[in-house]
């Protein structure tokens, strides 16, 4: 706005020089009106005065600009200094050489300065027009935004700063989030970065962080953001949802891991505590049974031995059941690795299980190995219960991002042969760990279950991001 005003005034003043000298008829007219010669001369001087005023105002405006925009300070002061020096020098020369022509020289210099101002103002208007043209391009771009980071790139293009970051305020999480769901703290100041805050409906909406060195004017950032506001609001909601989803996924994974650890604890307590104790009791009972049997033919002794023996038998059965429960909670073979645990499953299976596991199985977290183990166990259970199959083929292999376990039987296939809640639970567990479970069950072609898991669980991938 300011530039436009300066340009207009300067142009008028310069043009005015050619418009006045007053046309031939005016001077006599003025005389007739009683306007004195001196007053006429003053009019000419008024033009000069007007030009001078414009120059002063322009100078003041430029001064204010340089104060606000320190990086331009040096350039403007240098230019201004040159002009002033030039003016003073020529006035001095004129005074020394042609004292009477001083007035003319000053006038000429004023005109020159105004001309420069006019050109500068015009150029600045042109550049602003280009910049605003960039905003117009942004508006068109925004119509095409569908990928999350596209909005950030569009704004970066419009501002001519590829390092632009967009952060949205998420009231739900109480933090700023980026377009791909990472949380962070953009308000922490970093050198060379400038923060522009945007709000909507009196609530914080987003912040735009851009490069300080590029010296982007505030009005340009504001123009860009105004154009992008609706898209920004939309993206804000998307960013919030993505961050919440990432949180929820991480917490699901944590729940699975916690569950596995809790079961392992129970199995260990059963083994180290209860089972040992019961075995010790069983041992004492057997010893007592032996003693009474060896104590000779006395009727009472034999009967007692029988009683003790019966008690010991019952206890032995209880111990066996307890061991089965403990193994169901957490198979001890898992401590020796996934391949060992699957071997153990195959050994006791009521139908032939063919295992194909590579020698170089990638190391995976305990929750991943447990998930594969329970997957195979569940597949085996379903095959045995429903499928009428002759065997189950189990394959574990690496994939680009983790592990794939396949369990294929040659049973009857079809929906009637699919397991119920067990598979649903497995599917949940797989999803919580960032993987997936697929069921392919065609009638007369058997059932194939496929479990894919990443070896880096999702909870570790999205840590809090601090820019």
């Amino acid at each position: 706005m300011l530039a436009a005003g300066i340009v207009t005034a300067a142009a008028l003043a310069v043009v005015g020089q050619f418009a006045l000298p007053l046309p031939d008829g005016v001077a006599p007219l003025l005389f007739h009106l009683g306007v004195s010669r001196s007053f006429a001369r003053t009019l000419l001087d008024v033009r000069s005065l007007a030009a001078l005023t414009v120059a002063v105002v322009a100078g003041a405006a430029l001064t204010v600009e340089t104060i606000r925009r320190p990086t331009r300070r040096v350039k403007v002061l240098a230019a201004g200094g040159l002009v002033v020096a030039g003016a003073v020098a020529s006035v001095a020369v004129a005074w020394l050489t042609h004292p009477r022509a001083v007035h003319v020289t000053m006038s000429a210099w004023l005109d020159a300065a105004l001309a420069v101002l006019a050109v500068a103002g015009a150029v600045s208007l042109f550049v602003e027009g280009l910049e605003l043209g960039g905003v117009a391009r942004l508006v068109t771009d925004l119509g095409d935004v569908d990928a999350p980071m596209a909005l950030q790139h569009s704004i970066g293009r419009a501002l001519d700063d590829p390092s632009v970051e967009l952060w949205f305020w998420s009231a739900g999480l109480g933090a700023y989030v980026t377009l791909d769901g990472s949380r962070g703290d953009p308000e922490r100041t970093r050198p060379g970065r400038v923060l522009t805050r945007l709000s909507a409906r009196d609530e914080p909406l987003a912040v735009v962080v851009h490069d300080a060195a590029r010296d982007i004017p505030d009005h340009r950032v504001a123009a860009v953001c105004a154009a992008a506001r609706m898209a920004l609001d939309n993206e804000r909601l998307h960013a919030q949802v993505r961050a919440q989803l990432a949180d929820a996924t991480a917490s699901r994974a944590r729940i699975v891991v916690a569950g596995d650890q809790a079961r392992r604890e129970i199995e260990r307590n059963l083994h180290d505590g209860t089972q040992q104790r019961l075995l010790a009791v069983l041992l004492r009972l057997r010893e007592a049974e032996e003693r009474h049997r060896r104590a000779g033919e006395r009727a009472g002794s034999a009967a007692l031995a029988d009683e003790v023996g019966l008690a010991a038998d019952e206890l032995a059965v209880a111990l066996e059941e307890l061991r089965a429960i403990a193994r169901g909670l957490h198979p001890p073979a898992l401590d020796h690795g996934l391949a060992a645990a699957l071997d153990a499953l195959a050994e006791t299976a009521p139908l032939p299980v063919e295992l194909h596991t590579p020698a170089d199985l990638p190391a995976a977290g305990p929750e991943i190995e447990a998930a594969v183990y329970f997957f195979v166990a569940e597949a085996l259970t379903n095959t045995v219960r429903h499928a009428g199959a002759t065997h189950l083929a189990v394959t574990v292999e690496r994939t680009a991002s983790g592990l794939r376990a396949t369990a294929a039987d040659d049973g009857c296939g079809g929906a009637a042969c699919r397991g119920g809640t067990g598979l649903a639970r497995l599917g949940d567990r797989a999803a919580a760990l960032g993987g997936q479970l697929r069921v392919d069950s065609r009638a007369e072609a058997g059932t194939t279950l496929v479990l894919e898991l990443p070896t880096a669980p999702p909870g570790e991938a999205t840590a809090d991001v601090v820019p």
Partner: protein, 219 residues
């Protein structure tokens, strides 16, 4: 014979020591973990060590590792390893180094006092003992193309007893047949399964177990 008992449960440690003492083994040391086992064997002059697989600190396989280390450095010492769970891999690892005088028993076997003592005696006599339940599981495993189908009922019985570590004479006594019959069955089933004749009982056990546990696992 001087004996060391290692088990992280006090109750069981005492119980096992009692049973062994009654059977004529002199229990000279009882421990709750396998640290410094080799030194302890040296200082006590023990000829037999009975230990549990699960031990502190991680309670996974410390006992197994200690047993293997002990057999490597003191091959003359008889070692009986007790395990709460059947794990074929553990048995194979114990047998891997090829020297006799080793046993792998289910811990519950301890309560079957007669069988436990018998197994310990066989190990101290230089035999190799694998718990019958471990063998049963390996032999009974369902396979698509089961090589054991080629064996007769009797041959399968003999196979199981061989895998438990029994000598031909012991098998003959058990099945109440004469030695020559057993020898015939043995060479017949070894041929049918493609297992080479082993120079001694210990290597025989190892060969049989290895063969049986590798079926159904393509290379």
């Amino acid at each position: 014979m001087n004996t060391i008992v290692v088990d992280d449960s006090v109750l069981l440690r005492e119980g096992i020591a009692r049973v062994l003492d009654d059977a004529g083994f002199a229990v000279v040391a009882k421990r709750g973990d396998a640290d410094g086992l080799v030194e302890l064997v040296d200082t006590t002059g023990a000829g037999l060590v009975v230990l549990d697989i699960r031990m502190p600190p991680t309670h996974t396989t410390e006992g197994l590792e200690a047993a293997i280390a002990l057999r490597a450095t003191r091959p003359g010492v008889a070692v009986v390893v007790l395990s709460q769970y059947i794990e074929t891999r553990y048995a194979l690892e114990l047998l891997a180094d090829g020297s006799p005088g080793v046993g792998y028993l289910l811990k519950d076997r301890v309560a079957a006092i007669g069988e436990f003592v018998d197994a310990v005696r066989r190990v101290t006599a230089g035999g190799t003992v694998i718990d019958p339940q471990v063998v049963a599981r390996i032999v009974a495993r369902e396979r698509r193309h089961n090589p054991l189908d080629a064996l007769s009922e009797r041959e399968r019985e003999v196979l199981g007893l061989m895998a438990e570590g029994r000598s031909n004479q012991a098998i003959a006594d058990r099945l109440v047949v004469n030695l020559r019959t057993v020898e015939t069955h043995v060479s017949s089933l070894l041929t049918k399964l493609g297992i080479p004749v082993a120079p001694d009982d210990h290597r025989r056990v190892r060969a049989v177990l290895l063969h049986l546990s590798h079926t159904d696992r393509p290379a």
